[in-house]
Each structure stands twice: as C-alpha cells, then as structure tokens.
C-alpha cells in the first residue's frame, strides 16, 4: 500500500492538472477512495487553486475596462514624434489660400478678425494651477515619493534606494 501511495502521489499533480495519460488517470482514481493521505493532498491542491483563481474570476466578472483602449491609444500617440520637417511643412502650407475663389474673401475675413481679436490675444489668460503637476512617473529599482510644497513653491520627486534586493 505504501509503495503504491508513493508512486501515486507522484502522479497526483499531473492528474489534478488533467495532464495525466488515461492509464495514469485510472490508477489514481482507483487509489483515491482507499487512501486518505492522497485524498487530502488532492483537496489541498484544490483549495490552493481556488485561493489563487477565485479572486481573479471575481475581478474579471465585475470589470468593465473603462477607458482602457483610449488610454492605450493615447500611450501610442505620446510615443509618436513628428519630424520637425513635418511640423514646419504643415504650419507653412498656405496653398489652399491661393485658390482664386478662396483667397480674396479669406484674406478680407482674416484682416477683420485680426483687428478684432488682437486685443483679446494680448490679454493675459489665467495660468494653469500654480502647482507643478507630476503627470506620471516610473522607476524600476527605487521607491519614489512625490511631495508638493505650496509654501516653498517646490515639487519634490525623491528616489529611495531599495535596501535589499528582492529575494524572489
């Protein structure tokens, strides 16, 4: 019985993971009803799996993934840098204005708008928040603290070196 138990316990995990062959599976299924130890080992494996899996299933059931795709798009966009030639080219492109039917009224409108709008353009617009804002940060090997002081008019980003490397 003992020898059988020790050989079966080696198959137990494969059986539990549904990776056992047909022969291995029937060996285990014949053994389980008559061996309390192996039965308890199997129960423990099930409990462990439940403890690992159940919270994930629960989290996914309730998850709606709000704005995730939009943030991915934004992340990809932030990574893209237009060349300076493209920026200058698009800024200087006045060709639509040179079409006969367009440029005369367009120029006239632009002059009027400029004369009307220039006082507004020179007006001081309210600035953004006085505080500098840390939009995001990441650090592989350091713990990071962010501190903002209104009085000292300073934003501090401080990196703390990990004392011990991770043991995992």
């Amino acid at each position: 019985m003992k020898d059988s138990c020790s050989s079966i316990s080696q198959l137990l995990e494969r059986y539990f993971d549904r990776q056992a062959t047909d022969e291995e599976r029937s060996l285990v299924e014949r053994h389980l009803p008559i061996c309390q130890t192996c039965h308890e080992r199997l129960t423990l494996l099930e409990e462990l799996r439940k403890a690992i899996k159940a919270p994930v299933d629960e989290a996914l059931k309730e998850e709606t993934f709000p704005w995730v795709w939009e943030k991915i798009e934004r992340g990809i966009r932030l990574g893209k840098k237009p060349s300076w030639q493209e920026s200058v080219r698009s800024w200087l492109d006045l060709s639509p204005l040179l079409r006969k039917k367009v440029w005369i009224p367009a120029v006239a409108t632009a002059i009027v708008l400029a004369l009307v709008a220039s006082p507004l353009l020179f007006k001081k617009t309210p600035s953004y928040s006085e505080r500098s804002v840390v939009e995001y940060l990441e650090s592989q090997d350091y713990n990071v603290m962010v501190y903002e002081s209104e009085k000292a008019k300073v934003t501090v980003i401080w990196l703390f070196e990990e004392l011990d490397p991770s043991t995992s």
Binding site: L78, K81, P82, W84, S87, L94, W103, I104, V107, A108, A110, I111, A114, L115, S118, L121, F122, T125, S127, Y128, S129, E130, R131, S132, V133, V134, E135, Y136, L137, E138, S139, Q140, D141, Y142, V144, Y147, S149, K151, A152, K153, V154, T155, V156, I157, W158, L159, F160, E161
Partner: protein, 157 residues
C-alpha cells in the same frame, strides 16, 4: 468694356504679400514658439562637512526646509533652450548619472517635460512633469559619492 487694373479688388490682389506680412506681424506675439528657457542645476547634498554653495542662495530656503543635509554643492548650472521633442542630456561631473530633459508639450505657461534619470546606462526614473511659473521641481535621491544628487529644474517664462 470693363476697365482693368483700377478697382479695389486689383489693389488688394497687388498687395497680397503685404497683407499676409501684416497679418503675421499682428499675430506673431501670440504664436507659441516651440522653445522654453529652462534652468537646470545639479547639486550634491551630503552630511560631510557643512556649507552652502553661495550660488545656491535662491534655493537655500527651499532646500533647507525640505532636507536635513549639512552641505550643498553646485556641480552644474545650465541654461537650456528646450525645443519640442528635442531632448537634452546633462551628466554629472562624475559621469555616472545623466539627466535627460525633453519638452513634449507647450501650453502658454505650463510646459510639459519628460525627464529621465539614467545611471550607468540604466533608467532609474522616468517622469512627466508640468512646470508652472515660479516653481522648482527637485528630483533627488540617487547616491553620489558620499552624498546624494539633486536636480533643480525651473522654467523661465
């Protein structure tokens, strides 16, 4: 037969380049040039010795109120003209730590920078910060010889 070359339309046609130039001059002040003047100071702070580099007088109160170091020494003081998406890198004199600053967005009074700190070719910090007038961003902590390094970044508006 219509007369040619005498009406207001003709005058306008003739003076197009002048009109466009006038428009540009009127609008010029409001076009944001993609450049920001930034000051970067690289400071070594430590508890070895006592003293405050006189050049750091303007940040003395800030540093003193935030940290407990006894000594602050200025290693580099750079004025940077940052252009959009053109990063600038500065290494500490010892050369093992580099800071890279990249202007990624330019609002009227709040430029946004992506700042990376690299040590021995490994990135130890990446952050995106929006600066505002009159404020300093201090990034510090990595060890530098017997002290730590602090970067003080501010923008000039």
């Amino acid at each position: 037969m219509a007369l040619r070359g005498t009406g207001p339309l003709h005058l306008m046609k003739k003076n197009i380049p002048l009109i466009i130039l006038t428009l540009i001059l009127i609008l010029l002040p409001s076009i944001p040039f993609a450049q920001v003047q930034t000051r970067l100071r690289v400071i070594r702070a430590s508890n070895v010795g006592a003293g405050f580099d006189p050049v750091l007088t303007d940040v003395h109160s800030q540093l003193g109120s935030l940290f407990n170091f006894t000594s602050y020494r200025l290693l580099r003081d750079e004025s940077l003209s940052l252009s959009l998406n053109q990063p600038v890198s500065i290494s500490a004199r010892e050369g093992r730590i580099t800071i890279e600053i990249n202007l990624v967005k330019l609002q009227k009074s709040s430029p946004e920078l992506i700042i990376r700190v690299v040590r021995e070719e490994k990135e130890i910090l990446k952050t995106q910060v929006r600066l505002s007038p009159g404020r300093t961003v201090l990034i510090g902590g990595p060890k530098l010889r017997e002290g730590v390094i602090i970067y003080a970044i501010s923008a000039r508006f």
